[in-house]
Amino acid sequence: MNRAVRWLTEPVPKGRIAAFRTLVYLFVAADLVIFTPWVRAHAGTPGELYQPLLVGRLLPLPTPNPPIVHGVFWTLLLLALLAATGRAPRAFGWSVFLLYFEWMVIAMSYGKVDHDRFGLLVALAALPSAGRARHGDPERSEAAGWALRVTQIAVICTYFLAAWAKLRFGGPDWVTSSALAQAVIRRGTGLAHLIAGVPGLLIVAQLGILVFELLSPLIFVVPRRWRGAVVAYFYSFHLATFATITISFAPHLVAMTSFLPLERVRPVEWVRRRLGRTGAYAPDPSRP
């Protein structure tokens, strides 16, 4: 088997995919209610303003109306919470993927397409294939490894191909353009206006963004011990973006946890231990 295929399906602990699964499906529920509540408002948007995306025309998906929007909302909310338990990962996983995809078509068929959730969509598409996984399970799985790997690739593509899009639509002049100045004017915070006041700083920031995006695939080749620092850098980039031009990219941030050893985060286990109970994989002191 060649190296690329081995890399693509590099096994990870099942506990990691279990934690990732819970996080992703809880986020879907939170996304519906907290992060993108405006999607639901499309129930009351006149049908004439609906301009379906290519996929909506091909399938063809119906023009959203109140029963469709509210029906998808409540069904998806319920199924996402059920999927977060890790039970029936295929049945719940596929249902959530299909409904969330329809939810996104409803979201983005009124004149504005967002680019913050390709990684999340790939995670939702890949998670059902990872099979059953229990929290804390150290057994490694290639199916789980693939699901995380393709999510990672999607996350990095969001950066790398964004640089490519800048070169395609803006050209090399993008670096010296007023792209960030426009963003600051449209949605800048006080901090952003402070930064914009410094001559040349927005241009330096633009150069930094383009270089960072073009170099982002290096995360796959840096030594493993540096990977955490690189991911921390990615997160800090989004923190800066949020602090200056109030763009959160929340779905992307959740997908990016596919790079992290999530199996070490065991909130339920920690509570149980506090209460004096031991979990399934806690070391048994009676063993030699």
Binding site: T45, Y110, R140, I153, A165, R168, F169
Partner: protein, 159 residues
């Protein structure tokens, strides 16, 4: 549970392997997805979601060109101006901008915004006029100058 205990209480995790078919199916799906995304980046548009280009802030506006800041306003019968937002109409600013040409070509389309506003904010007085206003902010050397001018690009008044 296929976990064996080693001396010293260490776990020796077992690995669940993929079948050959499962492995190659995943390789194929990965390659098809990657080709779709690359094609979308090179030749696609937003319409090709989710395989369209990641074109957020990808245009290169003139370093000395004015920056466009769009808003939608409604005017009630007694002359009060209301800012139309996502919260009171359910329509996002970027969605209005995305369809701006359609509004300019047919300003009566703005009556739909008045409808959406009435639907979303039933207690508010109905809108008599809806207009799209672009505030052009001055930009020099890729920095905001702090000056601006307003331009109404489409307006509709209830007949």
């Amino acid at each position: 549970m296929p976990v064996s205990w080693l001396p010293g209480g260490k776990l020796s995790p077992v690995t669940t392997r993929l079948t050959d078919r499962g492995r190659w199916a995943r390789v194929l799906i990965t390659v098809v997805g990657a080709v779709g995304l690359l094609a979308g980046t090179l030749w696609g548009q937003d319409d090709d979601f989710p395989f369209g280009p990641f074109r957020m802030y990808a245009t290169a506006p003139d370093p000395d060109g004015a920056a466009k800041d769009t808003r939608v306003e409604g005017v009630t019968a007694d002359g009060r101006t209301v800012l139309i937002t996502e919260a009171n109409s359910g329509v996002r600013r970027a969605e209005i901008e995305g369809q701006q040409q359609a509004y300019e070509a047919d300003p009566a389309r703005l009556s739909r915004i008045a409808d959406a506003y009435a639907q979303r904010t039933p207690a508010a007085p109905p809108l008599r006029t809806v207009r799209i206003v672009v505030r052009w902010h001055g930009v020099k050397d890729s920095r905001p100058t702090g000056t601006w001018t307003d331009q109404v690009v489409a307006a509709w008044t209830r007949p």
